[in-house]
């Protein structure tokens, strides 16, 4: 049985001369794929294989695992026992209680999260930076990446954007380490390259090699699917006549509303109003363009790209499916404790897209425009983390503007705003996008208790009682009679 889509492994592809030299004789080549099936013969072997496959699915999918244990361990046995031991009312109540629990406890929060995010991400008042929340990075990982970004960016040396990107990626990729113990034992450490992404062809063993460089190049390779240059693409697309016409139309509307024509010169009083109004229109248009570009760019190649990264890390490097991130700047310390390698690599991609690249692009523009001073890395780090470093015109939606205006004072500390650095902006947004659905799911779960009680109450003409207890009382009565 082939597991995890592992391709055939043959030892003749690797280190054969070296291995023969070690043992002092010719080695028989293993050309068949190594398959780790059950070793028990007869009927038990296939059963063990089936069990391994089922348990592997559960272990690698926490939600499926929770649902399986909930359905198998709570919904079915509890409903059945209640039905036969305490009657149909108790059985019905138990089934409704448990099945709603399965839905609420495992799925509802996530579903509501997708719903809330998909709606809020489109709203300019909530997401003025047009950040893609599909590029989701959990907070501990973001904290870890920030530590590395700070070291790389806050540096006196003047660096090009590409150098900063390379150094950032190197610091992460070289310090990923498999969580297994075997690669740290004296017996296997060298053979497994300490569970690092280092290439096994590299000599001496234990030094960075070709694999991490390949991975880094995959991240750095320009292309729309990487969205590295999306901010430049926004500017380019904005110069399309379709968008410029909209700006011209906005200008005409403003002039018409003030009883002017295009040939009339604006008064000193109207000029700032005119500029602010047009700046708002331009910003809204750019918001839309950026959102469209990020969505288009991500869709087709996302999974393939991340799978390519993960496969390369596991098959050519020595990472396994779970990895830690060592602190590149402090020996023996960890930045990420234990996480699926695929998640770390995909979040690294998102962090590059939504944080590092945006910060670098904005920093370059800010330095060119004379809005910021200092070297590129330092300015980019400020854009990444600080609030109000570069002031941008605030744009509010027509419909929610008034409402938000009144709530602004209250929500200001927690609502993401244009003035926020990219990372605080992401964290604030995520706080909303997580807590709202979780609380909604909790309220739904709690209300199910009342609904369940109400169903029984109505069935019995308004009498409130616990059917399980009543059934037992009747049983006791029956026993006393007999």
């Amino acid at each position: 049985m082939r597991l995890n889509n592992t391709p055939p492994i043959t030892i003749n592809r690797f280190n054969l001369p070296e291995a023969e030299a070690k043992v002092g004789k010719a080695i028989r080549l293993q050309t068949q794929p190594i398959q780790f099936g059950a070793i028990s013969p007869g009927m038990i072997g296939p059963l063990i294989n089936v069990n391994n496959a089922a348990m592997s699915t559960l272990a690698n999918n926490p939600l499926i695992s929770l649902v399986a244990s909930d359905l198998g361990g709570m919904v079915l046995p509890r409903s059945t026992i209640e039905l036969f031991k305490r009657g149909p009312d108790a059985g019905r109540e138990t089934f409704l209680r448990e099945i709603s629990g399965t839905l609420t406890n495992t799925f509802l929060g996530g579903w509501l999260g997708i719903l809330v995010t998909s709606q809020l991400a489109k709203m300019h008042w909530f997401n003025p930076k047009a950040m893609s929340f599909k590029a989701w990075i959990d907070k501990p990982t973001m904290d870890a990446f920030q530590v590395v970004a700070q070291k790389v960016m806050q540096n006196a040396a003047e660096k090009s954007p590409q150098t900063i990107r390379q150094e950032f990626l190197d610091a992460i990729l070289q310090n990923l380490q498999s969580t297994d113990n075997l690669s740290k034992t004296s017996k296997y450490a060298e053979r497994l390259n300490y569970g690092r992404l280092w290439d096994r062809h590299t000599m001496p063993v234990g030094a960075p090699g070709a694999t991490w460089q390949d991975l880094r190049d995959m991240y750095l390779r320009p292309g729309p699917q990487r969205t590295f240059h999306i901010d430049e693409m926004v500017e380019n697309r904005f110069n399309h006549p379709m968008y410029l016409d909209q700006v011209e139309a906005a200008k005409a509307r403003f002039l018409k509303a003030n009883g002017l024509t295009s040939k009339t010169e604006l008064t000193a009083e109207l000029k700032p109003q005119f500029e602010t109004a047009i700046a708002k229109v331009e910003q809204l248009l750019k918001f839309q363009i950026r959102r469209e570009l990020t969505d288009i760019a991500r869709m087709p190649s996302e999974e393939t790209f991340i799978k390519g990264l993960t496969d390369k890390a596991a098959k050519e490097g020595f990472l396994t499916s779970e990895a830690s991130l060592l602190n590149p700047f402090e020996e023996g310390k960890f930045l990420i404790g234990r996480k699926p390698t695929k998640d770390i690599l995909s979040m690294l991609k998102y962090y590059m897209e939504e944080h590092i690249n945006r910060a670098l692009t904005e920093a370059e523009a800010a330095i060119k425009a004379g809005q910021a001073e200092g070297n590129l890395g330092e300015v980019a780090y400020k854009i990444l983390t600080e609030k109000g470093f570069i002031q941008e015109a605030s744009v509010e939606s027509k419909f929610l503007g008034k409402l938000l205006g009144s709530l602004k004072g209250l929500l200001r500390p927690i609502l993401p705003s244009l003035e926020d650095g990219l990372m605080p902006y992401a964290i604030k947004s995520k706080l909303f996008l997580t807590i709202i659905p979780i609380v909604m799911a909790g309220i739904f779960g709690c209300s199910m208790v009342l609904i369940n009680n109400e169903i029984t109450r109505r069935k019995y003409g308004g009498k409130t009682f616990f059917p399980g207890e009543e059934a037992l009382r009747q049983q006791l009565q029956g026993e006393s009679q007999s």
Partner: protein, 314 residues
């Protein structure tokens, strides 16, 4: 050893420590407690735990009788613990047993613990929210990958054979332990806890009825009229065995919530036999005036106290 989180706070001016962006203490706490989705659309286990805990509290709060409240507390509190942690604990114990008995397998089965958790408090939090990670066990996928890596660098066919065997054994052990953990959780959560609940509620009801019988048996010796109160006795009370009226309920009397000790209305007037005053709502005579939600807020307004033993002085 300083943890990464502390490292960040002390050495790196993170955005939370950044002067320009201030999160209030409540915001910071919310971030730490609820955090965020690990991935969009996938609730993290701690969210599942939080939602389930809220649901448990509501079940306990809105229980319709003390026995239901106790049943909820036993079933759901244990359910919460074993649902999220039971499997992990069973897996951990069994894996450690196998690893001790067969150290060569143990090398494949045990992994680094979550290295972000140093110190007793963080260990406790990690155990609470991510017991699987805290335990430090390799998954079957990881074992497979380690095996493939070792085979890549094997220097002899014998070594390939040995590694293949070890990997197969390890994967089988992981699968069987996971199956055992799952079965244990299912049995405990679905069957054992439920049966315990039923038994305890039954015992409580039996005890109350027994106490009621004893009380009724004492009262005639004190020269009192059999039964709780002559005014409350049902018209068909049996003078020889006063409990007979309770032990032989009519079909209507066995309806839920019926007070088979008789009913004294709130004005203290003579008891009413509801079965002689049938209306369209047979319960109307028993119901105290109540608001639409009042019945949930306090069991004192519910029909529960019309049950034997709850308004009859024992």
């Amino acid at each position: 050893m300083i943890t990464p989180m502390l490292l960040q706070r002390h050495i790196m001016p993170s955005f939370r420590a950044n002067q320009a962006v201030k999160f209030g203490s409540m915001t910071g706490m919310a971030l730490d407690v609820l955090g965020d989705f690990t991935k969009l659309g996938t609730t993290a286990v701690k969210h599942n735990q939080f939602i389930y805990a809220a649901v448990i509290l509501s079940r306990i709060l809105f229980a319709r009788s003390p026995n239901e409240r106790w049943e909820n507390a036993r079933r759901d509190a244990l359910g919460w613990f074993f649902w999220f942690m039971g499997n992990a604990i069973v897996k951990n114990v069994l894996t450690k047993v196998v690893a001790t008995a067969k150290p060569e397998l143990g090398e494949f089965l045990i992994s680094n613990k979550d290295l972000n958790t140093q110190g007793p408090l963080k260990k406790a939090v990690s155990f609470l929210f991510a017991p699987d990670k805290f335990m430090g066990l390799n998954g079957d996928k990881q074992i497979e990958e380690i095996g493939q890596s070792l085979i890549k660098t094997a220097t002899s066919p014998q070594e390939i054979e040995t590694i293949t065997k070890l990997v197969r054994h390890s994967k089988n052990v992981v699968g069987l332990i996971a199956l055992f953990g799952l079965i244990a959780s299912i049995l405990l959560l679905g069957v054992v806890i439920n049966l315990i609940n039923i038994a305890m509620t039954k015992a409580d009801l039996g005890k109350r009825i027994h106490q009621s019988n004893q009380q009724d048996a004492i009262q005639p010796e004190q020269g009192m009229q059999p039964g709780i109160n002559p005014e409350m006795a049902l018209p068909n009370a049996n003078p020889v065995n006063p409990m007979a009226q309770y032990l032989q309920p009519t079909p209507q009397q066995s309806m839920p919530g019926y007070n088979y000790y008789g009913y004294m209305n709130p004005m203290g007037q003579q008891a009413v036999n509801p079965w002689q005053q049938q209306t369209s709502n047979p319960w109307a005579a028993y119901q105290a005036p109540q608001s639409a939600w009042g019945q949930y807020a306090s069991p004192s307004y519910s029909g529960y106290y019309n049950y034997p033993g709850y308004n009859q002085g024992y």
